[in-house]
Amino acid sequence: MRSIFEWLSANEQMIYIVILVIFLGFIVISRVPTVLHTPLMSHANAISGVVIIGAIIVMGRADSNNYAALILGLLAVIFGTINVVGGFVVTDRMMEMFRKKK
Protein backbone atom coordinates (compact mmCIF):
# COMPACT_ATOMS: atom_id res chain seq x y z
CA MET A 1 0.00 0.00 0.00
CA ARG A 2 2.72 2.40 1.02
CA SER A 3 4.57 1.87 -2.23
CA ILE A 4 1.43 2.71 -4.16
CA PHE A 5 1.17 6.05 -2.40
CA GLU A 6 4.83 6.65 -3.03
CA TRP A 7 4.26 5.89 -6.68
CA LEU A 8 1.29 8.25 -6.81
CA SER A 9 3.23 11.12 -5.33
CA ALA A 10 6.22 10.40 -7.56
CA ASN A 11 3.91 10.59 -10.56
CA GLU A 12 1.83 13.52 -9.39
CA GLN A 13 2.41 15.56 -12.55
CA MET A 14 1.54 12.64 -14.77
CA ILE A 15 -1.72 12.08 -12.95
CA TYR A 16 -2.65 15.75 -13.32
CA ILE A 17 -2.00 15.43 -17.04
CA VAL A 18 -4.23 12.36 -17.27
CA ILE A 19 -7.11 14.11 -15.56
CA LEU A 20 -6.83 17.34 -17.54
CA VAL A 21 -6.38 15.58 -20.87
CA ILE A 22 -9.42 13.36 -20.27
CA PHE A 23 -11.61 16.45 -19.89
CA LEU A 24 -9.89 18.28 -22.73
CA GLY A 25 -10.30 15.25 -25.00
CA PHE A 26 -13.99 14.91 -24.19
CA ILE A 27 -14.64 18.58 -24.93
CA VAL A 28 -12.64 18.70 -28.16
CA ILE A 29 -13.92 15.41 -29.52
CA SER A 30 -17.59 15.92 -28.66
CA ARG A 31 -17.60 18.68 -31.27
CA VAL A 32 -16.66 16.36 -34.12
CA PRO A 33 -19.73 15.88 -36.35
CA THR A 34 -21.02 12.39 -37.26
CA VAL A 35 -19.91 12.90 -40.85
CA LEU A 36 -16.31 12.81 -39.71
CA HIS A 37 -16.43 9.93 -37.25
CA THR A 38 -14.51 7.50 -39.44
CA PRO A 39 -11.66 9.94 -40.17
CA LEU A 40 -11.68 10.91 -36.50
CA MET A 41 -11.14 7.31 -35.60
CA SER A 42 -8.30 6.73 -38.05
CA HIS A 43 -6.73 10.03 -36.98
CA ALA A 44 -6.97 9.02 -33.32
CA ASN A 45 -5.50 5.72 -34.36
CA ALA A 46 -2.48 7.44 -35.80
CA ILE A 47 -2.04 9.47 -32.62
CA SER A 48 -2.16 6.35 -30.45
CA GLY A 49 0.85 5.26 -32.48
CA VAL A 50 2.79 7.80 -30.38
CA VAL A 51 3.66 4.71 -28.34
CA ILE A 52 6.36 4.30 -30.98
CA ILE A 53 8.47 6.73 -28.96
CA GLY A 54 8.56 4.11 -26.20
CA ALA A 55 9.51 1.49 -28.75
CA ILE A 56 12.38 3.65 -30.02
CA ILE A 57 13.61 4.11 -26.45
CA VAL A 58 13.51 0.32 -25.83
CA MET A 59 15.53 -0.24 -28.93
CA GLY A 60 17.95 2.61 -28.50
CA ARG A 61 19.03 1.59 -25.01
CA ALA A 62 19.44 -2.10 -25.72
CA ASP A 63 23.00 -3.40 -25.79
CA SER A 64 23.93 -4.09 -29.37
CA ASN A 65 24.40 -7.79 -28.60
CA ASN A 66 21.10 -8.17 -26.72
CA TYR A 67 19.18 -9.61 -29.63
CA ALA A 68 16.06 -10.39 -27.61
CA ALA A 69 15.60 -6.72 -26.76
CA LEU A 70 16.55 -5.60 -30.25
CA ILE A 71 14.07 -7.89 -31.93
CA LEU A 72 11.28 -7.01 -29.49
CA GLY A 73 12.09 -3.34 -30.03
CA LEU A 74 12.14 -3.79 -33.79
CA LEU A 75 8.71 -5.41 -33.70
CA ALA A 76 7.33 -2.62 -31.53
CA VAL A 77 8.83 0.02 -33.84
CA ILE A 78 7.41 -1.64 -36.96
CA PHE A 79 3.93 -2.06 -35.43
CA GLY A 80 3.95 1.51 -34.14
CA THR A 81 5.13 2.94 -37.46
CA ILE A 82 2.46 1.12 -39.44
CA ASN A 83 -0.04 2.54 -36.98
CA VAL A 84 1.27 6.11 -37.25
CA VAL A 85 2.04 6.31 -40.95
CA GLY A 86 -0.94 4.25 -42.12
CA GLY A 87 -3.28 6.20 -39.84
CA PHE A 88 -2.20 9.62 -41.03
CA VAL A 89 -2.07 8.64 -44.70
CA VAL A 90 -5.49 7.01 -44.73
CA THR A 91 -7.04 9.95 -42.87
CA ASP A 92 -5.53 12.29 -45.42
CA ARG A 93 -6.98 10.17 -48.21
CA MET A 94 -10.43 10.34 -46.66
CA MET A 95 -10.26 14.06 -45.99
CA GLU A 96 -9.30 14.69 -49.58
CA MET A 97 -12.56 13.02 -50.61
CA PHE A 98 -14.55 15.14 -48.20
CA ARG A 99 -12.99 18.36 -49.39
CA LYS A 100 -13.37 17.79 -53.10
CA LYS A 101 -17.01 18.80 -53.02
CA LYS A 102 -16.65 21.92 -50.92
Binding site: L36, P39, S48, V50, R61, T81, F88, M95, R99, K101
Partner: protein, 483 residues
Amino acid sequence: MGVSILSVIYIVAAITFIIGLKMMSNPATARNGNTIAGIGMVGAIIGTIFLFKDDAGANLRNHAWIFGGLVIGSVIGVVMAKKVKMTAMPEMVSMFNGLGGASAAVISIAEFNQIVNNDFTIKIGQVYESGYEQLVLPVTAGTMIILFAGLVLGSITFSGSVLAWGKLSGKVKDFAFKGQHLVNLALLIFAVGLSAYVTMNKSEVSTIWFYVVLILSLIYGVFFVQPIGGADMPVVISLLNSLSGISAACSGFLYNNKVILTGGILVGAAGTILTILMCKAMNRSLVNVLIGSFGGSQSAAGEKGSMQHKEISLNDAAVVMSFANKVVIVPGYGLAVAQAQHTCHELQKILELKGVQVKYAIHPVAGRMPGHMNVLLAEADVSYEKLMEMEVANEEFPSTDVVLVLGANDVVNPAAKHDKSSPIYGMPILDVESAKMVIVNKRSMKPGYAGIENELFYQPKTSMLFGDAKKALNDLISEIKSI
Protein backbone atom coordinates in the same frame (compact mmCIF):
# COMPACT_ATOMS: atom_id res chain seq x y z
CA MET B 1 20.74 21.34 -23.77
CA GLY B 2 19.66 18.45 -26.00
CA VAL B 3 17.32 17.18 -23.33
CA SER B 4 15.61 20.54 -22.95
CA ILE B 5 15.22 20.90 -26.71
CA LEU B 6 13.58 17.47 -26.67
CA SER B 7 11.18 18.70 -23.97
CA VAL B 8 10.19 21.60 -26.21
CA ILE B 9 9.67 19.24 -29.14
CA TYR B 10 7.46 17.03 -26.97
CA ILE B 11 5.40 19.98 -25.77
CA VAL B 12 4.92 21.18 -29.35
CA ALA B 13 3.95 17.64 -30.42
CA ALA B 14 1.35 17.40 -27.65
CA ILE B 15 -0.09 20.75 -28.75
CA THR B 16 -0.28 19.61 -32.39
CA PHE B 17 -2.22 16.50 -31.29
CA ILE B 18 -4.77 18.63 -29.51
CA ILE B 19 -5.04 21.18 -32.33
CA GLY B 20 -5.28 18.36 -34.87
CA LEU B 21 -8.20 16.82 -33.01
CA LYS B 22 -9.84 20.19 -32.65
CA MET B 23 -9.57 20.81 -36.38
CA MET B 24 -11.27 17.46 -37.00
CA SER B 25 -14.52 19.10 -35.97
CA ASN B 26 -14.96 20.76 -39.37
CA PRO B 27 -14.64 19.05 -42.77
CA ALA B 28 -12.98 22.17 -44.16
CA THR B 29 -10.10 22.18 -41.65
CA ALA B 30 -9.85 18.48 -40.84
CA ARG B 31 -7.28 17.66 -43.48
CA ASN B 32 -4.90 20.34 -42.26
CA GLY B 33 -5.47 19.20 -38.70
CA ASN B 34 -4.38 15.73 -39.68
CA THR B 35 -1.24 17.11 -41.34
CA ILE B 36 -0.38 19.27 -38.34
CA ALA B 37 -0.61 16.35 -35.93
CA GLY B 38 1.44 14.28 -38.38
CA ILE B 39 4.22 16.88 -38.38
CA GLY B 40 4.18 16.96 -34.58
CA MET B 41 4.50 13.20 -34.52
CA VAL B 42 7.42 13.12 -36.96
CA GLY B 43 9.16 15.79 -34.89
CA ALA B 44 8.69 13.81 -31.70
CA ILE B 45 10.04 10.64 -33.34
CA ILE B 46 13.13 12.29 -34.85
CA GLY B 47 13.74 14.24 -31.65
CA THR B 48 13.60 11.06 -29.58
CA ILE B 49 16.06 9.25 -31.83
CA PHE B 50 18.73 11.95 -31.68
CA LEU B 51 18.17 13.85 -28.44
CA PHE B 52 16.88 11.32 -25.93
CA LYS B 53 19.27 10.51 -23.09
CA ASP B 54 18.99 7.08 -21.47
CA ASP B 55 19.37 6.36 -17.74
CA ALA B 56 23.13 6.67 -17.94
CA GLY B 57 22.92 9.98 -19.78
CA ALA B 58 24.01 8.45 -23.07
CA ASN B 59 22.35 8.96 -26.42
CA LEU B 60 20.25 6.21 -27.94
CA ARG B 61 22.18 3.58 -29.87
CA ASN B 62 21.28 1.10 -32.59
CA HIS B 63 20.22 3.75 -35.09
CA ALA B 64 20.40 1.23 -37.91
CA TRP B 65 17.82 -0.97 -36.20
CA ILE B 66 15.58 1.98 -35.39
CA PHE B 67 15.62 3.38 -38.91
CA GLY B 68 15.23 -0.12 -40.33
CA GLY B 69 12.04 -0.54 -38.30
CA LEU B 70 10.78 2.91 -39.26
CA VAL B 71 11.36 2.29 -42.95
CA ILE B 72 9.75 -1.17 -42.94
CA GLY B 73 6.77 0.13 -40.96
CA SER B 74 6.35 3.22 -43.16
CA VAL B 75 6.39 1.22 -46.36
CA ILE B 76 3.82 -1.27 -45.04
CA GLY B 77 1.71 1.54 -43.59
CA VAL B 78 1.67 3.63 -46.77
CA VAL B 79 0.89 0.65 -48.98
CA MET B 80 -1.96 -0.47 -46.70
CA ALA B 81 -3.38 3.04 -46.45
CA LYS B 82 -3.20 3.71 -50.18
CA LYS B 83 -4.58 0.38 -51.28
CA VAL B 84 -7.45 -0.07 -48.86
CA LYS B 85 -10.92 0.25 -50.33
CA MET B 86 -13.20 2.67 -48.52
CA THR B 87 -15.64 -0.18 -47.99
CA ALA B 88 -12.92 -2.04 -46.07
CA MET B 89 -12.20 0.88 -43.74
CA PRO B 90 -13.51 -0.88 -40.59
CA GLU B 91 -11.12 -3.80 -41.13
CA MET B 92 -8.25 -1.41 -41.67
CA VAL B 93 -8.96 0.63 -38.55
CA SER B 94 -9.24 -2.58 -36.50
CA MET B 95 -5.88 -3.71 -37.81
CA PHE B 96 -4.24 -0.40 -36.91
CA ASN B 97 -5.80 -0.48 -33.45
CA GLY B 98 -4.40 -3.95 -32.98
CA LEU B 99 -0.90 -2.94 -34.04
CA GLY B 100 -0.90 -0.01 -31.62
CA GLY B 101 -1.92 -2.40 -28.84
CA ALA B 102 0.73 -4.90 -29.89
CA SER B 103 3.36 -2.19 -29.79
CA ALA B 104 2.37 -1.27 -26.22
CA ALA B 105 2.36 -4.93 -25.14
CA VAL B 106 5.79 -5.58 -26.67
CA ILE B 107 7.18 -2.53 -24.87
CA SER B 108 5.91 -3.95 -21.59
CA ILE B 109 7.59 -7.28 -22.34
CA ALA B 110 10.89 -5.63 -23.21
CA GLU B 111 10.80 -3.45 -20.10
CA PHE B 112 9.94 -6.44 -17.93
CA ASN B 113 12.97 -8.29 -19.28
CA GLN B 114 15.08 -5.25 -18.55
CA ILE B 115 13.80 -5.05 -14.99
CA VAL B 116 14.39 -8.76 -14.37
CA ASN B 117 17.93 -8.47 -15.74
CA ASN B 118 18.57 -5.63 -13.28
CA ASP B 119 17.25 -7.65 -10.31
CA PHE B 120 14.14 -5.55 -9.96
CA THR B 121 15.84 -2.22 -9.79
CA ILE B 122 15.29 0.62 -12.15
CA LYS B 123 17.78 3.26 -13.12
CA ILE B 124 16.46 6.75 -13.34
CA GLY B 125 18.41 9.57 -14.87
CA GLN B 126 17.98 12.95 -13.20
CA VAL B 127 19.11 16.19 -14.74
CA TYR B 128 20.36 18.78 -12.26
CA GLU B 129 21.87 22.18 -12.84
CA SER B 130 25.19 20.74 -11.79
CA GLY B 131 24.93 17.87 -14.21
CA TYR B 132 23.52 14.43 -14.54
CA GLU B 133 22.95 11.90 -11.81
CA GLN B 134 21.87 8.33 -12.03
CA LEU B 135 19.68 6.86 -9.32
CA VAL B 136 19.22 3.15 -8.82
CA LEU B 137 15.90 2.48 -7.15
CA PRO B 138 14.00 -0.70 -6.44
CA VAL B 139 11.07 -1.21 -8.78
CA THR B 140 7.91 0.03 -7.11
CA ALA B 141 4.55 -1.68 -7.10
CA GLY B 142 3.24 1.26 -9.13
CA THR B 143 5.70 0.57 -11.94
CA MET B 144 4.80 -3.11 -11.92
CA ILE B 145 1.09 -2.28 -12.08
CA ILE B 146 1.65 0.00 -15.07
CA LEU B 147 3.79 -2.66 -16.70
CA PHE B 148 1.04 -5.23 -16.31
CA ALA B 149 -1.68 -2.77 -17.35
CA GLY B 150 0.20 -2.06 -20.57
CA LEU B 151 0.71 -5.77 -21.14
CA VAL B 152 -2.89 -6.82 -20.44
CA LEU B 153 -4.60 -3.94 -22.27
CA GLY B 154 -2.18 -4.03 -25.18
CA SER B 155 -2.58 -7.78 -25.69
CA ILE B 156 -6.37 -7.63 -25.41
CA THR B 157 -6.40 -4.80 -27.96
CA PHE B 158 -4.15 -6.78 -30.24
CA SER B 159 -5.91 -10.15 -30.25
CA GLY B 160 -9.37 -8.56 -30.09
CA SER B 161 -8.61 -6.30 -33.05
CA VAL B 162 -7.16 -9.10 -35.12
CA LEU B 163 -10.31 -11.11 -34.51
CA ALA B 164 -12.50 -8.08 -35.31
CA TRP B 165 -10.53 -7.70 -38.52
CA GLY B 166 -11.13 -11.36 -39.35
CA LYS B 167 -14.84 -11.06 -38.64
CA LEU B 168 -15.25 -7.87 -40.66
CA SER B 169 -13.45 -9.29 -43.65
CA GLY B 170 -15.59 -12.41 -43.43
CA LYS B 171 -12.73 -14.76 -42.55
CA VAL B 172 -14.04 -15.64 -39.08
CA LYS B 173 -17.62 -16.56 -38.26
CA ASP B 174 -19.45 -15.56 -35.09
CA PHE B 175 -19.15 -18.21 -32.50
CA ALA B 176 -20.24 -18.44 -28.90
CA PHE B 177 -20.56 -21.32 -26.48
CA LYS B 178 -22.74 -21.68 -23.43
CA GLY B 179 -21.35 -19.86 -20.45
CA GLN B 180 -18.75 -18.06 -22.51
CA HIS B 181 -19.29 -14.85 -20.58
CA LEU B 182 -18.47 -16.61 -17.33
CA VAL B 183 -15.36 -18.12 -18.89
CA ASN B 184 -14.40 -14.65 -20.13
CA LEU B 185 -14.90 -13.11 -16.73
CA ALA B 186 -12.89 -15.91 -15.11
CA LEU B 187 -10.06 -15.40 -17.62
CA LEU B 188 -9.92 -11.69 -16.91
CA ILE B 189 -10.05 -12.11 -13.14
CA PHE B 190 -7.34 -14.75 -13.34
CA ALA B 191 -5.10 -12.51 -15.47
CA VAL B 192 -5.58 -9.53 -13.15
CA GLY B 193 -5.14 -11.65 -10.03
CA LEU B 194 -1.97 -13.19 -11.37
CA SER B 195 -0.64 -9.72 -12.22
CA ALA B 196 -1.31 -8.61 -8.66
CA TYR B 197 0.35 -11.74 -7.27
CA VAL B 198 3.49 -11.22 -9.36
CA THR B 199 3.54 -7.53 -8.43
CA MET B 200 3.45 -8.27 -4.72
CA ASN B 201 5.96 -11.12 -4.76
CA LYS B 202 8.02 -9.99 -7.69
CA SER B 203 11.45 -11.13 -6.62
CA GLU B 204 10.35 -14.61 -5.52
CA VAL B 205 8.01 -15.80 -8.25
CA SER B 206 9.11 -17.23 -11.56
CA THR B 207 9.08 -14.87 -14.52
CA ILE B 208 7.06 -17.51 -16.37
CA TRP B 209 3.93 -16.06 -14.77
CA PHE B 210 4.44 -12.81 -16.60
CA TYR B 211 4.11 -14.70 -19.86
CA VAL B 212 1.11 -16.62 -18.54
CA VAL B 213 -0.60 -13.24 -18.04
CA LEU B 214 0.34 -12.36 -21.62
CA ILE B 215 -1.24 -15.55 -22.97
CA LEU B 216 -4.37 -15.20 -20.81
CA SER B 217 -4.84 -11.65 -22.08
CA LEU B 218 -4.46 -12.72 -25.68
CA ILE B 219 -7.06 -15.46 -25.21
CA TYR B 220 -9.36 -13.03 -23.44
CA GLY B 221 -9.15 -10.60 -26.36
CA VAL B 222 -10.30 -13.32 -28.74
CA PHE B 223 -13.11 -14.56 -26.49
CA PHE B 224 -14.33 -11.06 -25.81
CA VAL B 225 -14.81 -10.07 -29.45
CA GLN B 226 -15.88 -13.47 -30.73
CA PRO B 227 -19.55 -13.58 -29.69
CA ILE B 228 -20.29 -9.97 -30.70
CA GLY B 229 -22.50 -9.73 -33.79
CA GLY B 230 -21.77 -7.75 -36.93
CA ALA B 231 -24.37 -5.10 -36.18
CA ASP B 232 -22.57 -4.31 -32.92
CA MET B 233 -19.19 -3.90 -34.60
CA PRO B 234 -19.23 -0.07 -34.45
CA VAL B 235 -19.24 -0.32 -30.65
CA VAL B 236 -16.44 -2.88 -30.56
CA ILE B 237 -14.19 -0.94 -32.91
CA SER B 238 -14.68 2.24 -30.90
CA LEU B 239 -13.93 0.36 -27.70
CA LEU B 240 -10.77 -1.21 -29.10
CA ASN B 241 -9.74 2.25 -30.32
CA SER B 242 -10.11 3.52 -26.79
CA LEU B 243 -8.15 0.57 -25.35
CA SER B 244 -5.29 1.12 -27.79
CA GLY B 245 -5.02 4.68 -26.52
CA ILE B 246 -5.07 3.64 -22.87
CA SER B 247 -2.42 0.97 -23.42
CA ALA B 248 -0.27 3.62 -25.10
CA ALA B 249 -0.79 5.88 -22.09
CA CYS B 250 0.60 3.07 -19.89
CA SER B 251 3.86 3.27 -21.81
CA GLY B 252 3.80 7.01 -21.20
CA PHE B 253 3.76 6.31 -17.46
CA LEU B 254 6.51 3.73 -17.82
CA TYR B 255 8.90 6.20 -19.42
CA ASN B 256 7.59 9.20 -17.55
CA ASN B 257 7.00 10.57 -21.04
CA LYS B 258 4.31 13.21 -21.21
CA VAL B 259 3.78 13.26 -24.95
CA ILE B 260 3.02 9.53 -25.06
CA LEU B 261 0.72 10.03 -22.11
CA THR B 262 -1.12 12.98 -23.70
CA GLY B 263 -1.51 11.21 -27.06
CA GLY B 264 -2.65 7.99 -25.44
CA ILE B 265 -5.21 9.62 -23.17
CA LEU B 266 -6.60 11.77 -26.01
CA VAL B 267 -7.19 8.64 -28.05
CA GLY B 268 -8.65 6.88 -25.04
CA ALA B 269 -11.10 9.77 -24.65
CA ALA B 270 -11.95 9.79 -28.38
CA GLY B 271 -12.63 6.06 -28.38
CA THR B 272 -14.71 6.31 -25.22
CA ILE B 273 -16.88 9.09 -26.65
CA LEU B 274 -17.49 7.15 -29.85
CA THR B 275 -18.31 4.02 -27.82
CA ILE B 276 -20.86 5.96 -25.79
CA LEU B 277 -22.37 7.54 -28.94
CA MET B 278 -22.69 4.17 -30.66
CA CYS B 279 -24.31 2.59 -27.60
CA LYS B 280 -26.74 5.49 -27.38
CA ALA B 281 -27.57 5.13 -31.06
CA MET B 282 -28.66 1.58 -30.32
CA ASN B 283 -30.22 2.40 -26.97
CA ARG B 284 -28.18 -0.31 -25.31
CA SER B 285 -25.65 -0.29 -22.53
CA LEU B 286 -22.07 -1.25 -23.18
CA VAL B 287 -22.43 -4.30 -20.94
CA ASN B 288 -25.45 -5.37 -22.93
CA VAL B 289 -23.52 -5.12 -26.18
CA LEU B 290 -20.57 -7.03 -24.77
CA ILE B 291 -22.45 -9.90 -23.17
CA GLY B 292 -25.69 -9.93 -25.15
CA SER B 293 -24.72 -12.06 -28.14
CA PHE B 294 -27.04 -10.43 -30.55
CA GLY B 295 -29.62 -12.03 -32.74
CA GLY B 296 -30.79 -15.49 -33.66
CA SER B 297 -32.77 -17.17 -30.94
CA GLN B 298 -35.11 -14.39 -29.83
CA SER B 299 -36.51 -13.37 -33.21
CA ALA B 300 -40.19 -14.00 -33.69
CA ALA B 301 -39.94 -16.24 -36.71
CA GLY B 302 -43.41 -17.68 -36.12
CA GLU B 303 -45.37 -14.75 -37.48
CA LYS B 304 -43.54 -14.81 -40.74
CA GLY B 305 -45.71 -17.44 -42.43
CA SER B 306 -48.84 -15.33 -42.49
CA MET B 307 -47.18 -12.22 -43.87
CA GLN B 308 -46.73 -11.53 -47.54
CA HIS B 309 -44.24 -9.20 -49.11
CA LYS B 310 -44.73 -7.72 -52.55
CA GLU B 311 -42.14 -7.18 -55.22
CA ILE B 312 -41.79 -4.22 -57.51
CA SER B 313 -40.54 -4.43 -61.08
CA LEU B 314 -37.59 -2.34 -62.17
CA ASN B 315 -39.79 -0.46 -64.55
CA ASP B 316 -42.32 0.49 -61.85
CA ALA B 317 -39.56 1.48 -59.46
CA ALA B 318 -38.00 3.67 -62.15
CA VAL B 319 -41.34 5.34 -62.85
CA VAL B 320 -42.26 6.12 -59.24
CA MET B 321 -38.80 7.48 -58.54
CA SER B 322 -38.55 9.71 -61.61
CA PHE B 323 -41.96 11.24 -60.97
CA ALA B 324 -41.42 11.79 -57.27
CA ASN B 325 -40.75 15.20 -55.79
CA LYS B 326 -38.47 13.98 -53.07
CA VAL B 327 -36.52 10.73 -52.78
CA VAL B 328 -34.53 9.77 -49.68
CA ILE B 329 -31.91 7.04 -49.91
CA VAL B 330 -31.13 5.01 -46.77
CA PRO B 331 -27.77 3.28 -47.20
CA GLY B 332 -26.62 0.35 -45.07
CA TYR B 333 -23.90 -2.25 -44.90
CA GLY B 334 -25.31 -3.96 -48.03
CA LEU B 335 -24.26 -0.91 -50.04
CA ALA B 336 -20.70 -1.31 -48.80
CA VAL B 337 -20.63 -5.04 -49.52
CA ALA B 338 -21.84 -4.46 -53.08
CA GLN B 339 -19.39 -1.53 -53.55
CA ALA B 340 -22.39 0.35 -54.90
CA GLN B 341 -21.57 3.86 -53.61
CA HIS B 342 -20.59 5.23 -57.04
CA THR B 343 -23.63 3.76 -58.74
CA CYS B 344 -25.73 5.25 -55.97
CA HIS B 345 -24.35 8.71 -56.72
CA GLU B 346 -25.12 8.18 -60.40
CA LEU B 347 -28.71 7.38 -59.53
CA GLN B 348 -28.84 10.56 -57.48
CA LYS B 349 -27.53 12.65 -60.40
CA ILE B 350 -29.90 11.17 -62.95
CA LEU B 351 -32.87 11.70 -60.65
CA GLU B 352 -31.81 15.28 -60.03
CA LEU B 353 -31.71 15.84 -63.79
CA LYS B 354 -35.37 14.85 -63.78
CA GLY B 355 -36.05 17.47 -61.14
CA VAL B 356 -36.28 15.08 -58.21
CA GLN B 357 -34.88 16.24 -54.89
CA VAL B 358 -32.56 13.50 -53.57
CA LYS B 359 -31.17 13.22 -50.05
CA TYR B 360 -29.54 10.56 -47.91
CA ALA B 361 -30.59 9.50 -44.41
CA ILE B 362 -27.72 8.12 -42.35
CA HIS B 363 -28.31 6.17 -39.17
CA PRO B 364 -25.45 6.54 -36.66
CA VAL B 365 -24.77 2.79 -36.59
CA ALA B 366 -25.29 2.10 -40.30
CA GLY B 367 -22.35 0.04 -41.52
CA ARG B 368 -19.64 -1.47 -39.41
CA MET B 369 -17.95 1.54 -37.85
CA PRO B 370 -18.92 5.07 -36.79
CA GLY B 371 -19.37 7.25 -39.87
CA HIS B 372 -18.82 4.35 -42.29
CA MET B 373 -21.56 5.42 -44.74
CA ASN B 374 -20.39 9.04 -44.77
CA VAL B 375 -16.95 7.99 -45.93
CA LEU B 376 -18.34 5.74 -48.65
CA LEU B 377 -20.59 8.44 -50.03
CA ALA B 378 -17.80 11.00 -49.79
CA GLU B 379 -15.65 8.64 -51.84
CA ALA B 380 -18.38 8.61 -54.48
CA ASP B 381 -18.33 12.44 -54.50
CA VAL B 382 -21.71 12.83 -52.83
CA SER B 383 -21.75 16.27 -51.23
CA TYR B 384 -21.95 15.96 -47.46
CA GLU B 385 -24.67 18.59 -47.41
CA LYS B 386 -26.98 15.97 -48.91
CA LEU B 387 -26.47 13.67 -45.94
CA MET B 388 -29.03 13.95 -43.17
CA GLU B 389 -28.54 12.69 -39.64
CA MET B 390 -31.28 10.62 -38.09
CA GLU B 391 -33.23 13.39 -36.32
CA VAL B 392 -33.32 15.59 -39.41
CA ALA B 393 -34.23 12.68 -41.65
CA ASN B 394 -37.12 11.65 -39.43
CA GLU B 395 -38.62 15.11 -39.85
CA GLU B 396 -38.24 14.85 -43.63
CA PHE B 397 -39.82 11.44 -44.13
CA PRO B 398 -43.50 12.55 -43.90
CA SER B 399 -42.95 14.86 -46.90
CA THR B 400 -40.96 12.24 -48.82
CA ASP B 401 -42.51 10.44 -51.77
CA VAL B 402 -40.15 7.50 -52.08
CA VAL B 403 -37.62 6.07 -49.65
CA LEU B 404 -35.04 3.75 -51.21
CA VAL B 405 -33.50 1.44 -48.61
CA LEU B 406 -30.18 0.11 -49.90
CA GLY B 407 -28.88 -2.82 -47.91
CA ALA B 408 -29.99 -1.44 -44.55
CA ASN B 409 -32.16 -3.54 -42.29
CA ASP B 410 -32.20 -3.21 -38.50
CA VAL B 411 -31.91 0.59 -38.61
CA VAL B 412 -35.30 0.80 -40.36
CA ASN B 413 -37.08 -1.97 -38.43
CA PRO B 414 -40.27 -0.59 -36.86
CA ALA B 415 -40.21 -3.41 -34.30
CA ALA B 416 -37.70 -1.27 -32.41
CA LYS B 417 -40.56 1.10 -31.61
CA HIS B 418 -43.33 -1.19 -30.44
CA ASP B 419 -42.25 -4.83 -30.11
CA LYS B 420 -40.96 -5.29 -26.58
CA SER B 421 -39.82 -8.83 -27.33
CA SER B 422 -37.54 -7.68 -30.12
CA PRO B 423 -33.83 -7.59 -29.29
CA ILE B 424 -33.60 -4.14 -30.86
CA TYR B 425 -36.57 -2.73 -28.92
CA GLY B 426 -35.87 0.88 -27.92
CA MET B 427 -33.23 1.52 -30.54
CA PRO B 428 -33.88 4.85 -32.30
CA ILE B 429 -34.62 4.09 -35.96
CA LEU B 430 -35.18 5.88 -39.23
CA ASP B 431 -38.96 6.24 -39.56
CA VAL B 432 -39.10 5.35 -43.22
CA GLU B 433 -42.68 4.11 -42.86
CA SER B 434 -43.90 7.68 -42.51
CA ALA B 435 -42.97 8.30 -46.17
CA LYS B 436 -45.53 7.71 -48.91
CA MET B 437 -43.74 4.71 -50.35
CA VAL B 438 -40.77 2.54 -49.43
CA ILE B 439 -38.66 0.51 -51.86
CA VAL B 440 -36.30 -1.94 -50.20
CA ASN B 441 -33.36 -3.35 -52.10
CA LYS B 442 -32.04 -6.58 -50.59
CA ARG B 443 -30.48 -9.68 -51.97
CA SER B 444 -33.23 -11.95 -50.64
CA MET B 445 -35.82 -12.12 -47.87
CA LYS B 446 -33.26 -13.58 -45.45
CA PRO B 447 -33.07 -11.65 -42.18
CA GLY B 448 -30.13 -9.28 -41.77
CA TYR B 449 -26.92 -9.76 -39.84
CA ALA B 450 -28.69 -9.48 -36.51
CA GLY B 451 -31.06 -12.28 -37.53
CA ILE B 452 -34.20 -10.28 -36.76
CA GLU B 453 -37.30 -10.44 -38.93
CA ASN B 454 -38.17 -6.99 -40.28
CA GLU B 455 -41.90 -6.25 -40.45
CA LEU B 456 -41.28 -3.20 -42.62
CA PHE B 457 -40.87 -5.56 -45.56
CA TYR B 458 -44.45 -6.81 -45.18
CA GLN B 459 -46.19 -3.46 -44.91
CA PRO B 460 -48.55 -2.39 -47.69
CA LYS B 461 -46.42 0.69 -48.40
CA THR B 462 -43.31 -1.38 -48.94
CA SER B 463 -42.16 -2.99 -52.16
CA MET B 464 -39.14 -5.21 -52.48
CA LEU B 465 -36.55 -4.87 -55.23
CA PHE B 466 -34.39 -7.98 -55.02
CA GLY B 467 -30.82 -8.24 -56.20
CA ASP B 468 -27.27 -7.12 -55.52
CA ALA B 469 -27.32 -3.38 -54.76
CA LYS B 470 -24.89 -2.43 -57.51
CA LYS B 471 -26.65 -4.44 -60.21
CA ALA B 472 -30.11 -3.33 -59.13
CA LEU B 473 -29.01 0.33 -59.16
CA ASN B 474 -27.41 -0.01 -62.58
CA ASP B 475 -30.59 -1.56 -63.97
CA LEU B 476 -32.65 1.13 -62.31
CA ILE B 477 -30.49 3.85 -63.87
CA SER B 478 -30.90 2.45 -67.37
CA GLU B 479 -34.66 2.11 -66.84
CA ILE B 480 -34.90 5.73 -65.68
CA LYS B 481 -32.87 6.85 -68.70
CA SER B 482 -35.31 5.13 -71.02
CA ILE B 483 -38.35 6.88 -69.54
